[in-house]
């Protein structure tokens, strides 16, 4: 049985503390993979990013994605945590973590969670630079990535 935790929150989260807790898993946990997404500012012009989501559907979609991962791989634990609201460059946006007996399953499932979360969970990013605000466009490569699974 996989223990699934879904958190959708506005407040910052402590990536280190979440990773530490995850790596204290039970006797059957041999491999932990964690992913953290961070607000990038390649061009040095980003002032802030706003994340909008669909309360209710978000939790529902993330739970379905986590359950699908638990069906496909043998996992002892899955965590998906995603923030919403205003964020600044360098801030942590979200994380996923998976725990399994074996590394291949921990890696594949975390990678899967990210691909599905990108295109199937109702979050939208809006970037504000000095020039103004605009919604981030979805990438065709993100939709295409789902075909891997």
């Amino acid at each position: 049985m996989t223990r699934i935790t879904i958190r959708v929150e506005q407040a910052p989260f402590d990536f280190g503390a979440e990773c530490a807790r995850f790596a204290e898993g039970g006797a059957d946990t041999g491999a932990v993979v964690t992913f953290c997404g961070i607000v990038r500012d390649d061009t040095g012009t980003l002032e802030s990013m706003e994340i909008e989501h669909y309360p209710g559907m978000t939790e529902r979609a993330l739970t379905k994605i986590a359950e699908e991962a638990a069906r496909r791989w043998s996992l002892s634990e899955v965590l998906i945590l995603h923030r919403y609201g205003p964020l600044r460059p360098g801030e942590r946006i979200m994380m996923v973590a998976t725990a399994s007996a074996h590394r291949a399953e921990a890696f594949a499932s975390a990678d899967f969670l990210m691909d599905y979360l990108k295109s199937r969970a109702p979050f939208w990013k809006k970037e504000t630079t000095r020039a103004g605000s605009d919604w981030v466009a979805a990438k065709a490569s993100d939709e295409a990535a789902l075909a891997r699974w």
Binding site: G37, I51, E52, H53, Y54, G56, M57, R60, A61, H82, I93, M94, M114, L117, K118, S119, R120, A121, P122, F123, W124, K125, K126, W135, V136, A137, A138, E143
Partner: protein, 83 residues
Amino acid sequence: MKLDVLYFAWLRERIGCARETVETEAGTVMALVEELRAREERYALAFSDLSALRVAIDQDLRDFDAPLTDAREVAFFPPMTGG
């Protein structure tokens, strides 16, 4: 029937509203879209390119030809960009 219709991201901004209650007899999402388009210019513009939109019925992603039987909440939004 009464439906809660929700809009997110740039669709919300273009229509100028996040949520409204709609009285409709539309049988499918597509029929509902046609009714909305017929209302006002801002709806017609917002729904002009459906390939740039996604729809959820009662918080599950669906196609535009999905039936609205027993639906209570229909949401329209652009492709997601989380993560």
